[in-house]
């Protein structure tokens, strides 16, 4: 590919983008903080429980968590602690936010990365398949599937998958992260884990698979009409090589874009899917913290998501250059 000069330019570009991200992240923190604080609902009520508490007790709890200060002061204090690398302390869980999030991050990443890989792979294969014979039965099937997949909400699909595969057929567990009754070790534990992962992963993948299928098909159809494809064919390359090596490579940019673009949606989807399947990940922590008005946890997760989205977008841009020699920075 490009020589040393090209990769140096790419490195400088990445660094510049990374520096640009700093004010963006700060802005995101401020907006998140204001949004969360301005939402109705009092965390102290959620903390104390369903009982009339004496007003002085309520005030004590409020002061204990620094909720008695004015909004600008709380915002400055929060920004200060985030800059020092401290995400704060969870009201409800009485644990540092970082500890809570890190404990669950691995489980969510496991679910998300499998989803991205699976959905991208299946989406590309379906898309290519459909693009090879446009307007055939296969194409219509794949397009129909994409339309359906795009319209079905993840939480509903999750419940249907549970009904069919766990309750009806009894093939897979209905929820949870692993079997609780039996303590598996070694390979049995891995198999058990995979069995628990199949349904949430499918529920999360569907929409994403649909988008990738449609995009691959559209992008490939466009590319396959290009002159250099005709040239490749004229040089006598097999149709398979034309399609997979020349066609797909040129069609890859939109597909890479959509991986980055969808990252944020997968995080949002995982909050719902993790709740439906009782998967103890970050998404569920986010869902719970909304209901308990556990602001530090909510803000911490939103920050994590924002930073990840920014990073993934950067990686996407870098990936453009690596995949497509026409892209230069």
């Amino acid at each position: 590919m490009s020589g040393a000069r090209g990769s140096k330019a790419l490195g400088a570009y990445a660094l510049e983008r990374l520096l640009n991200a700093v004010p963006l992240v700060l802005g995101v923190i401020v907006v998140n903080f204001l949004l969360v604080s301005l939402a109705p609902g009092d965390p102290v009520t959620a903390l104390i429980g369903e009982y009339p508490a004496p007003p002085d007790y309520v005030e004590r709890v409020r002061a204990q968590y620094g909720l008695d200060a004015a909004l600008p002061e709380r915002l400055l204090r929060y920004l200060g602690s985030v800059v020092r690398g401290d995400l704060g302390f969870s009201f409800a869980n009485r644990q540092p936010v970082a500890t809570l999030v890190i404990e669950r991050l691995g489980r969510t990443l496991l679910l998300m990365l499998t989803t991205v890989v699976f959905a991208t792979a299946v989406g590309i294969v379906l898309g290519v398949w459909a693009a090879r014979r446009p307007h055939s039965a296969v194409d219509r099937g794949a397009t129909g599937f994409a339309l359906a997949g795009y319209s079905i909400p993840e939480f509903w699909l999750g419940q249907i998958l549970i009904l069919v595969f766990a309750v009806g057929l009894g093939w897979l567990p209905a929820g949870g992260f692993r079997s609780i009754r039996a303590d598996y070790a070694g390979w049995a534990a891995v198999v058990d884990q995979v069995r628990h992962m199949v349904l949430p992963m499918l529920a999360l993948s569907f929409r994403y698979m649909a988008i990738t299928t449609r995009l691959t098909r559209a992008s490939l159809l466009e590319v396959m009409n290009a002159d250099y494809i005709l040239a490749s064919r004229a040089r006598g390359l097999s149709e398979r090589r034309v399609l997979w090596e020349h066609g797909l490579r040129a069609a890859a940019l939109p597909i890479i874009t959509v991986i980055g673009y969808n990252f944020g949606f997968i995080v949002a989807g995982s909050a719902l899917v993790e709740t439906v399947f009782g998967w103890p990940g970050v998404g569920r922590l986010m869902y719970d913290s909304i209901f308990t008005r556990d602001y530090p946890v909510l803000l911490g997760i939103l920050l994590l998501v924002s930073v990840s989205v920014i990073l993934v977008n950067l990686l996407t841009d870098v990936a453009y250059a690596l995949f497509d020699p026409r892209v230069r920075y």
């Binding site: 609902g41 009982y51 009339p52 508490a53 009485r94 404990e103 922590l285």
Partner: protein, 515 residues
């Protein structure tokens, strides 16, 4: 008492029919109990949260417990005496040990109540505020002296309101931030093994338990955040017990049809569903308008359709759970039958026409949504338009207790005494305090009668006061009691020995697996 009954029943079964020998409680096995949300920590002494209380019931012990009929018995307390003026309670403790081997002494009890429960436990504070002093004259004796007689005291000394924590692990620390909160040490029938946040809490039988050791080897509380998934977990055998509180009532018929699942319905802790009426509203301030609404609402239909039959139409301001707090003379069902015609007359008398009312409720409560639809239809027939406003829970709390509503549906429980949970619905309260009377109703006579009733231990004397209060409330109708909820639970069919205590979450040490 109930334990004796079980033993007798088992003996009888054993003697009468050897074929039934398998119904003898057998130790062993792991039971998985469903929790709807992750406990925030495991210190039941600093929170009134439902999941923490559930795990805490198996982990901790308290001075007393309430059996399935609500009668109070000694747990850590071998017995107690009450002075003639009903002010001094003297408890004698049994020989008991914490899970770390340290003995449970009177000093632990006093320390827990003074330093942990008193400042931090919402419900225990009720009792704590009535206490003049708490003393431990020796290692086995605890003396509680009250400011004035307070009948609900014993009901507030159970494991849900007063779990006893080890002083030696908490003294000198901030009880809210003590690491023991995440790896708790109690003196209950099960001891802590492991907690994976968001997934499970694992307990095991504590061999050194001071009463009969638990039958189950392990007890696992598993977090299943979605209500439909909870009934599914029971159906497919991934859990053994789920309390009705956590299940959609619409799933019960399906579970009842499943031979591997046992469904139970009954009245345990009284739980009353009622409609708060904002008495500050210009029209709703008129008792005739409130009476009209009561006549207009078809409570039978709400019980049948919104509650899946799991309820009894409320007969009085304190429901049906406490016989002494109910008087037949002013039964609400007799006074206010479903009668749209009468409702229209009352509204006409009050000169009310074209009334639109904001009906606020917690959107997470499915039964409330169904009830709201029925009420909207009922009230439309008498010319009242209901503007149904489902809002998220924390918003509901702000709006209702800030009195920014016209009508709202609420459910309250009252543990073992109407004074614990129901009095607050009627006692005069300032706006802005949560979970008390949000109607704006203020009646000094009702305040006096209820306060006096709370101080009496004698149930007949209390009954006379309640009858008087009920007569006033029946006419004024500051809130509209709709129905008493029936409790339910679903369990694996071969899990026996459940429901030995007033609270379903308690007494799991008696649970065992049959064949």
């Amino acid at each position: 008492m109930s334990r004796l009954l079980i033993v007798l029943a088992c003996l009888a079964a054993f003697v009468a029919a050897p074929a039934l020998a398998q119904s003898t409680p057998t130790p062993g096995g792991t039971a998985i109990v469903v929790l709807g949300s992750d406990p925030e920590h495991l210190n039941a002494g600093i929170s009134t949260g439902y999941p923490i209380g559930a795990v805490g019931a198996s982990l901790y012990s308290a001075l007393v417990y309430q059996d399935a009929d609500g009668v109070v018995h000694g747990e850590l307390a071998e017995g107690w005496t009450v002075s003639d003026d009903n002010l001094v309670y003297t408890f004698t403790l049994r020989d008991a040990t914490f899970h770390d081997g340290a003995p449970v002494t009177a000093a632990d009890v006093v320390y827990t109540m003074e330093s942990i429960l008193g400042p931090n436990h919402g419900r225990f504070q009720r009792a704590f505020n009535e206490m003049a002093s708490l003393e431990a004259p020796d290692a086995r004796t605890v003396v509680i002296t009250l400011n004035r007689p307070y009948a609900p005291l014993l009901g507030l000394l159970t494991v849900f309101d007063a779990p006893i924590l080890p002083k030696h692990l908490y003294e000198g620390s901030d009880p809210l931030a003590n690491p023991v909160n995440d790896a708790p040490v109690g003196s209950g029938p099960f001891r802590f093994v492991e907690w994976v946040r968001g997934e499970r809490v694992v307990l095991e039988r504590f061999a050194g338990y001071f009463l009969e050791p638990a039958l189950l080897d392990r007890l696992i509380y598993r977090v299943v955040p979605q209500d439909v998934a909870r009934s599914t977990a029971i159906e497919v055998g991934e859990a053994d017990l789920v309390w009705g509180f956590y299940m959609p009532t619409s799933d019960l018929p399906r579970l009842e049809a499943n031979p591997d699942v046992a469904v139970w319905k009954g009245l345990t802790i009284p739980s009353l569903y009622f409609m708060f009426v904002n008495n500050d509203h210009p029209q709703l301030g008129d008792a005739r308008v409130r009476q009209a609404i009561m006549h207009a609402i078809d409570r039978e239909q709400i019980v049948e359709q919104a509650q899946g039959g799991l309820g009894e139409v409320a007969g009085g301001p304190f429901g049906a759970g406490f016989r002494y707090a109910y008087s037949e003379a002013t039964d609400y069902r007799t006074l206010y039958p479903h009668d749209p015609e009468r409702a229209r007359e009352l509204l006409a008398e009050a000169g009310v026409a074209d009334l639109t009312l904001r009906f606020v409720y917690d959107s997470a409560r499915g039964a409330f949504a169904a009830a709201a639809e029925i009420m909207r239809d009922n009230l439309r027939q008498v010319g009242i338009t209901l503007d149904v406003q489902p809002v998220e829970r924390s918003v509901m709390v702000e709006r209702v207790y800030g009195r920014d509503y016209d009508l709202t549906l609420q459910s309250f429980t009252s543990s073992g005494d109407p004074a614990i949970g129901y009095h607050r619905i009627y006692l005069t309260a300032a706006p802005g305090s949560n979970f008390v009377n949000a109607t704006g109703y203020a009646n000094t006579e009702v305040d006096r009668l209820l306060t006096e009733a709370a101080g009496l231990a004698d149930q007949d004397a209390r009954a006379a006061l309640y009858a008087e209060a009920m007569a006033i409330l029946a006419a004024d109708l500051p809130t509209l009691p709709i129905f008493d909820e029936l409790s339910t639970q679903a369990s694996t069919a071969n899990l026996n020995g459940l429901l030995q205590r007033l609270d379903q979450r308690d007494g799991l040490e008696f649970a065992w697996f049959g064949n």
